[in-house]
C-alpha cells in the first residue's frame, strides 16, 4: 500500500503540487485524473523520486520512500513513462532491464525465466527477439509494462499508458494491468485522460485541480459536478448496462 501526505513540488518558484495527500491499498488501481498541466505526471514521478518533492512524505508498505536507496526503491516502485524512446534493442533485452535492480554484472537464469514468463503473459512471446523500433504503439506499451512488472514492484506507476493506443489495445492494456494488480496485490497509480476507462478499470479516483487534490475516493466521487469542477466542462455520470459511464457535454 502507499500513503502520500502533504506532498508539494515546485519548478523553481512555480508551485506545481501543493499538499497532495491520498492513500491506496493492496490490489487497488488508482486513476489520477485532471486537466493537462495540473501535475499528474509530476505526482507519479515524485513517488519514485525521479523528481524530489519540496515537502511531504511517501510511505510504501510502511517504509519511508525517502529513506531508501535508489536501487532499493527500484525494487518497490516501477514506472512506465508517458513517452518511451524506442531504442534498437530486442523486447527481451528491454524487459530484462527490469531485473537490473536485482542483478550485478549479469542476469542469471532465474532473471531470464522471469522475463520469459512476463513476456508470455503480456502476449509478446512471438516478438521477444524483435527490435523495439519495429513494434506498434500497443506492443511497445506492453513491452514497457512487462519491464516494469519484472521489477516485482509493490507500487506500479503508469503515466498515460493508453495515450497512443486504439480502443481495443486500450482495453487490453487496462485489463492486463487490473488483472496483475489484483493477482499480485500491487497498488497501481495510473494517470488517465479517459474517464470511462478509469470508471471501467479503476477502484479509486484522485482528481487534481490547480495542483491540489480536489477529491479522492471510490467510484462515488466521480460525479457530473466533480468532472465539471475539475475539467470545466458540463458532464453527467449515468448507469448503462449496470456500468457507470461519464457523458461529457
Amino acid at each position: 500500500m502507499i500513503e502520500v501526505e502533504n506532498l508539494s513540488y515546485a519548478y523553481g518558484k512555480t508551485a506545481v503540487l501543493s499538499d497532495v495527500s491520498f492513500s491506496a491499498g493492496d490490489g487497488e488501481c488508482v486513476a489520477i485524473l485532471g486537466n493537462n498541466g495540473v501535475g499528474k505526471s509530476t505526482l507519479v514521478t515524485c513517488v519514485n523520486r525521479i523528481r524530489t518533492p519540496s515537502s511531504g512524505t511517501i510511505c510504501i508498505d510502511g517504509e519511508d520512500a525517502f529513506a531508501l536507496s535508489r536501487l532499493e526503491l527500484a525494487k518497490r516502485v516501477a514506472y512506465v513513462a508517458q513517452k518511451n524512446e524506442m531504442s534498437r534493442v530486442t523486447v527481451f533485452d528491454c524487459v530484462l532491464l527490469g531485473r537490473k535492480p536485482y542483478f550485478g554484472w549479469t542476469a542469471g537464469d532465474e532473471d531470464l525465466e522471469r522475463c520469459a514468463d512476463m513476456i508470455r503473459r503480456t502476449g509478446l512471446s512471438h516478438l521477444q527477439l524483435r527490435s523495439l523500433d519495429t513494434l506498434s504503439g500497443g506492443e511497445l506499451q506492453k513491452a514497457m509494462l512487462a519491464r516494469a512488472l519484472v521489477q516485482e514492484p509493490r507500487v506500479l506507476l503508469l503515466d498515460e499508458p493508453t495515450s497512443s493506443l486504439d480502443p481495443s489495445s486500450q482495453y487490453g492494456m487496462m485489463e492486463l494491468v487490473r488483472q496483475i494488480t489484483k493477482e499480485r496485490g500491487l497498488t497501481s497509480l495510473i494517470v488517465l485522460h479517459d474517464l470511462n476507462l478509469a470508471l471501467r478499470f479503476c477502484d479509486r479516483f484522485l482528481f487534481l485541480r490547480e495542483g491540489r487534490a480536489f477529491c479522492c475516493g471510490g467510484p462515488e466521487v466521480v460525479t457530473g459536478e466533480t468532472i465539471e469542477s475539475v475539467y470545466g466542462i458540463p458532464a453527467r455520470v449515468a448507469e448503462l448496462d449496470g456500468r457507470r459511464v461519464a457523458v461529457i457535454g
Binding site: R70, A116, R120
Partner: protein
Amino acid sequence: MESLPSADKAGAALYRHYLRRKRLAVAVTAAVVVAACLLSLMAGSSDLSLGDLLLALVGRGTRQTSAVVWNVRAPRLFAAVAVGASLALSGCVMQNVLRNPLASASTLGVSQGASFGAAVAIVCFGGGTQINAGGASAALSITNPALVTTCAFLGGIATTAVILLLSRLRGASPSAMVLAGVALSSMFTGGVTLVQYFADDVMVATVVYWTFGSLGRAGWGEIGLIAALCFLAFLFFLRRCWDYNALEGGSHTAKSLGVPVNFLIPASMAICALLASVSVAFVGCISFIGLIAPHIMRRFVGNDYRFLLPCSALCGAALLLLSDVVCRVLVPPVVLPIGALTSFLGAPLFLYLLMKRRGFS
C-alpha cells in the same frame, strides 16, 4: 521460487542463443582487428613477408626485421589500436549519455578544445617543438609532453563542462547540445588561428603539423598511457553497461530502474573527455572515428551496450589501423596525415550509414 512453465525455459533458452550470436559478433570484430594488425605490420617500405613478421614478433627474427617491426611498425600499430579504441569508446558513451547520435569528441568540439589547449601550450607556454635539420615533418618533437597533454586535456574538459552545464542548467535539447558543440568547435578553431597569428613561422608550422594528426608521434610511454586509460575507462563503462542500456529509455526510466543518473552522466562525460583529450594531445586531431565506429557496430549488435562497447572499441581500432595503412601506402614514401584521411573517408561513410538508417531519422 515458484516453478516456471517449460515455455519460459524455452523462451530463456532462445534468448541465450541470441546472446551467443552477439558474442560471435564481438569475436568476428576482434578477428578483423587482428587481420588489420597484420596488414598494418606488413605495410611499409621494407618488404617483409608474413613469416618474417611473425618470427620478429616472437623474438626470433633477424636484427633488421626486429628493428623494423618493434621500432617502426609496432608503435604505430599499438598507437592506432589504443587511440582508435579510445575515440570510439568515448563517442559510443557520449552518444548514449547525451542521447544524441551525433555526439563524439570531434563533433562536440572536445577535439578542437584539446587542440586549442595544445596550441596554447606549444606557442605560449614553451611546450613547443624544436626544429632540427631536415624536413619540418621529420623534426617535430614536443619538448614538454606533460604540459601539452595537460593543456589539451583542460581544453577538452572545458568544452565538455560547458556542454554539460548547458544540458543540466538550461535543459538543452540534444540538437541544442550539438549546436553548442558546433559553436564551441568554431570558437576553439578561431582561438587556434589567433594563437598562430601571434606565433612565429616555426611555431605556426608546428601547430599546423600537430593538428594534422600522426600516429608515429607517440612513443611507447605515451602509447602505454593511452592504452592504460583506455583499458580503465573500458572497465568502468562495461561495469555500467546496464546503466547505459537503461539510459537508452530516457533519464526518467533509468532513474526508475535505480540508475544514479546524476552521477553517471557527468562522470561518463568526464572520462570520455579524458580519453579523447589525451589521445588528441599525443597524436593530434583524428576526426570521425569516434562518430562512425559506434554507428557501424550498432548495425550489427544494436544498442545493447554489453556488446556495443567492446565492438565499438574494436571497430575504432580496426578503422584507425586501416586508415593508417592507407596513409602509408597511398603515396609512398609520403605518410599522409591520418586526421585528414579519417575525415576525408569518414564523412562519406557516415553519409552512407545515415542513408541506410531505418526511417532516415
